[in-house]
Amino acid sequence: MSQPLLELRDVTCERDGYPLFEPVSLTLSAGSVMQLEGPNGVGKTSLLRVLCGLSSRYQGELRWRGQPLDRAAFATEVIFLGHATGLKLTLSPRENLRWWGVLRGFDCTAEIDGALRQVGLLGYEDVPCYQLSAGQQRRVALARLFTSTAPLWILDEPFTAIDREGVAQLEEWLLAHAEAGGAVLLTTHQPLTLPVPLQQVGLRPAQGEEYSDNA
C-alpha cells in the first residue's frame, strides 16, 4: 500500500450553519486519481476549497502525510486549479506563467516553453490571452501543472471548454502524474477512462438537520 497523502475524516462543508453533504472520509494515496462526484450544488467545489485552505467553513479533520494538516507546509505541495483560470487576459501565456512561478517562489522561465508545448500552445507564448479561446485559456492554466513539482493536484472541473482530443491528453497527464508518485483529486462530470485505479467518491446531500456549534 502506498503512502497516504491526504486523509479526510468525517469532513463536511457548511453553509449558514447547515452541513452541505453527509460527512465523507477518504484517503488519497500517492499514485492514485480520485474523482469527486455528486449532483450540482452538493458542495464539490466547496470541499475542494476547504482542502486547499481557501475556506474554513468545515467540520472534521484533515491530515496530510499522516500529520494534522499544516497550511504553510501544505501550500508548497499542492496545485489548485479552480473554475476561474487566474489568468490576466492582457498578459501573454508566458507572462502569466512566469508570474505564477514567482508566486510559488521559483523562476520557472526555463520551463515555460516546455510546459506550453505540452499543452499544445507552442506559437502562442507571446500572444495576449484575450486573443485565445476559452479552451486555450484553460490550457494555459493547465500548463502550470508542468512548471511545478507539487505532488498533489486539486482540479475543479479541469475539462471545461477543453476539446475531445484535449480531454484524452489531460487524462494521459493525470495518469503520468499518478505513475510518477503524485496524486490527483478532481471533480468532473466527464466519465474518465483511466487505466489506473480510479477512486470515485460520491457526495450525498445532507438531510436538513441543523448543525450544532458545540458538536
Binding site: C52, S55, W99, V102, R104, F106
Partner: protein, 228 residues
C-alpha cells in the same frame, strides 16, 4: 527551476502588476485624469485670482489627490478577485504579507507616484506660490504612499462585495484624515514661507508605521473576503 530570493519574488510580483497596468492603461490614466479634471474645476468655480485661489490651493490640491487615490484604491484587488488570481495568491507558499506589500507598492507606483509628479502642474493652475511646490510634491509622495496602504486595507475588506465602493469610502476616509491634515498643513506652511519639515516628518512616521503594519491587515482581510 531556480529558487527566487525574497527581493526576486517582490520584483516579479511588482513587475506583473505594472505590466497589467501599462497594458490596460485605464488604471494608470484614471486617477491622473480625475486629479487634473477636478482640479481645473476650482479656478472656474472660485475664480482665477491669485489672492482668492492661492490660500485655498493647498487644501484643494490635497483633497483632490486624496479623492483620486480613493477612486483608484477600489481596483487594487478587484480584477484579481474576479479572474481567480487572488485564489492563487492565497494558496501561494510565498507569504501573503509579502504579496500584499508588493500589490500595494505596485498600486502606489501606478497611482500615487504619477499624481505626486503631476501635482506642480495643477498647482500652477491653482495659483499656489512657487515656493510651495517642493513641499507639495514631497508631501504627496509620502502621503499617497500612506493612502495606498490604508486604501488597500479597505479594498481587501470589500473585495468580496459586489458593490463595495461606498462601504470602502466609509471605512477608508476616516483613516485618510490625519494624512490630509498633515499633508495640507505642510503645503500651507511652505506657501507662507514657514518651515514644513515637521509635517513631512509626521507623514514619514505614518508611512514607517503603515508599511510594516498595513500588509498584516490586508492579508487577514483578503483571507476573510475569499473564505466563503
Amino acid at each position: 527551476m531556480r529558487e527566487l530570493s525574497l527581493s526576486g519574488v517582490l520584483a516579479g510580483l511588482v513587475r506583473r502588476d505594472l505590466q497589467v497596468a501599462i497594458r490596460s492603461r485605464a488604471a494608470l490614466a484614471n486617477p491622473l485624469l480625475f486629479f487634473l479634471m477636478v482640479g481645473t474645476l476650482f479656478p472656474l468655480g472660485i475664480g482665477p485670482e491669485a489672492a482668492r485661489l492661492g490660500p485655498l490651493a493647498p487644501g484643494i490640491l490635497w483633497v483632490v489627490a486624496l479623492l483620486a487615490t480613493l477612486l483608484a484604491s477600489e481596483s487594487i484587488f478587484r480584477t484579481d478577485y474576479d479572474d481567480g488570481s487572488l485564489e492563487q495568491m492565497l494558496l501561494s507558499p510565498v507569504s501573503l504579507y509579502l504579496l500584499a506589500l508588493a500589490k500595494t507598492f505596485a498600486h502606489w507606483l501606478i497611482s500615487g507616484l504619477p499624481l505626486a509628479l503631476m501635482s506642480p502642474l495643477l498647482a500652477m493652475m491653482l495659483q499656489l506660490p512657487a515656493a510651495a511646490m517642493p513641499a507639495l510634491a514631497l508631501s504627496l509622495l509620502l502621503g499617497t504612499a500612506v493612502l495606498s496602504q490604508i486604501g488597500a486595507i479597505g479594498a481587501a475588506l470589500t473585495v468580496g462585495l459586489r458593490r463595495g465602493g461606498l462601504l470602502l469610502s466609509l471605512i477608508v476616509l476616516p483613516l485618510y484624515m490625519p494624512v490630509l491634515i498633515f499633508g495640507a498643513s505642510a503645503v500651507k506652511a511652505a506657501a507662507e514661507g514657514l518651515p514644513f519639515s515637521g509635517q513631512l516628518a509626521v507623514l514619514g512616521a505614518m508611512l514607517a508605521l503603515a508599511v510594516p503594519l498595513a500588509p498584516l491587515a490586508v492579508a487577514a482581510a483578503l483571507r476573510l473576503s475569499v473564505d466563503q
